[in-house]
């Protein structure tokens, strides 16, 4: 069951996030260069790291799906990618706001993080159209997993390559993630990273619970209305179908 520890997880996340922002705004000193604007850093960078981690987890779950052919892994992969897409939109928008505040432009090609992110998002934006374009659920899940694995490999490689391409243009402050941060900055940053990761995990479990409940509901309806109504879902869907109707436990 995905909902089991959800409440505790949510409360922990809330506490971590609150602590992070309190510390970020009242304890961490202002940056010498950017002043107050630098506070976005505690939002944007952890968001980015967690998003990428989510995509990579989506790839790992996809590998497990191909190995075990268990549709639950497909669902895990789907939700992870779906959630990371939402977070990724946040990364692009907050990064753009930061760029506008720092350098007066809404988009800057010499900022490797944002450029790589744009590319990754363009790729993952095709995930749902791909799923939706395949009717057979088994093949849909299989092809989606193949895509997720390849895209997951693309994420780190793409970052390195884009970084290479902007390397000899002047490096921006955004690039210095946690490399050379003094004391308080580092504490708050890592706290922000942990709380953002907790947020992702909480939302992931939340969506998994919802999807799982929906699948169980469909199975229940099928059972109650009789075997002949197999496709109570005649509509095409990009969402994975869980094999709950087989009476699988959990």
């Amino acid at each position: 069951m995905y909902g089991k520890r959800l409440r505790a997880l949510a409360l922990t996340t809330f506490a971590a996030l609150t602590l992070t922002w309190v510390l970020a705004f009242f304890w961490a000193p202002d940056d010498a260069d950017q002043g107050f604007l630098q506070k976005i850093f505690y939002l944007h960078v952890p968001l980015a790291i967690v998003t990428l981690g989510g995509f990579v987890y989506g790839a790992v779950a996809a590998i497990m799906h191909l190995r075990t052919r268990d549709s639950r892994w497909d669902m895990r992969s789907y939700v992870a990618i779906h959630l990371s897409l939402v977070f990724g939109v946040g990364v692009l928008i907050t990064g753009s706001i930061w760029a506008r505040g720092s350098w007066g432009v809404w988009w800057d090609w010499s900022e490797p993080t944002l450029v790589s992110f744009l590319l990754v998002m363009l790729l993952y934006a095709t995930y749902q159209p791909l799923r939706f374009a395949i009717e057979d659920p088994e093949r849909q899940a299989r092809y989606a997993s193949v895509f997720a694995i390849t895209a997951g490999a693309f994420v780190p490689i793409n970052f390195v390559i884009v970084r290479l391409s902007t390397a000899y243009l002047h490096p921006r402050v955004l690039g210095n993630i946690s490399g050379n941060l003094p004391g308080r900055f580092q504490v708050v940053f890592y706290l922000a990273l942990v709380s953002m990761a907790l947020l992702w995990i909480t939302l992931w479990r939340y969506e998994m619970t919802s999807k799982h409940a929906g699948a169980q509901l469909r199975a229940l309806r099928r059972r109650l209305s009789g075997e002949d109504q197999q496709d109570t879902q005649p509509r095409r869907s990009a969402v994975p179908t869980l094999g709950v109707e087989a009476g699988a436990p959990r």
């Binding site: 590319l119 095709t126 374009a133 395949i134 009717e135 390849t150 793409n158």
Partner: protein, 241 residues
């Protein structure tokens, strides 16, 4: 569409050697393409037309350096995407997949044959497109740049082939294959484009021909290798039914 030469002589279903199957599949691809002229003429014509488009769009008579490199590679990329779209279509529509899957051949051979076919398309494309580019748009002379450019083209083609074969197989049995193909392959091809363009731009510089930047050569080669391995690893899963 069974591949001739696959069935092994003698008793028992012996798995035929990869080389034999590969040769048979390639012969089939070549025959089909020569009979129907589906992909290559379209790709080639498209590239020349695109050069003309760029002339009018950029209001330039000659290009050099970054601009020349960029125009050349973007054109090649889009022409390649046309080819990728067509790569698996005949098999999907006419049961070629089933025929292949029923044979005792190793599944990866289909990957090799499609990849080599796409490579062949690209080579023919470039034999026409690169001189056309030199004629229509390139300012500096092509000849001194040619050795380096051939290296850039070779590595770039490898990247296009690896990604293209993967995406072609992925997109072909979906309902919107013509849209999904470019949508998925273009982001994956951006690093290839990036490296190839950076590789080519000093070669096409106005004034004198620069040297091949090794950093981009190595990066492109590595990218080709990594995605080649990934495609090889996951390809079987695309062919299961």
């Amino acid at each position: 569409m069974s591949a001739p030469g696959v069935s092994a002589p003698g008793a028992g279903p012996r798995v035929p050697r990869t080389r034999v199957v590969l040769a048979a599949l390639l012969r089939k691809e070549l025959t089909v393409e020569l009979r129907s002229f589906e992909a290559v003429p379209a790709m080639t014509l498209f590239s020349v037309t695109t050069f003309v488009l760029f002339h009018f769009a950029l209001s330039r008579n000659t290009l050099s350096g970054d601009l020349a490199s960029g125009v050349l590679w973007v054109t090649l990329l889009f022409a390649a995407v046309l080819g990728i779209n067509r790569l698996f279509v005949a098999d999907a529509e006419q049961g070629g997949f089933d025929g292949f899957l029923l044979s005792p051949a190793d599944r990866s051979v289909l990957l090799y044959s499609k990849a080599l076919t796409l490579l062949a398309y690209l080579v023919v494309l470039e034999v026409v497109a690169v001189p056309a580019f030199a004629l229509l748009l390139l300012g500096p002379a092509l000849w001194p740049a040619l050795p380096g450019l051939l290296a850039a083209l070779a590595l770039g083609d490898l990247g296009i082939v690896v990604i293209g074969t993967f995406v072609g197989a992925l997109a072909v049995r979906t309902s919107v294959r013509d849209l999904l193909g470019p949508m998925i392959s273009l982001p994956l091809l951006v690093p290839v484009l990036l490296c190839a363009a950076r590789l080519s731009s000093p070669l096409l510089g106005a004034g004198h021909v620069g040297s091949l930047p090794l950093r981009w050569l190595a990066t492109l080669a590595l990218y080709d290798l990594v995605f080649g391995l990934i495609t090889f690893a996951v390809f079987d899963f695309l062919l299961e039914d």
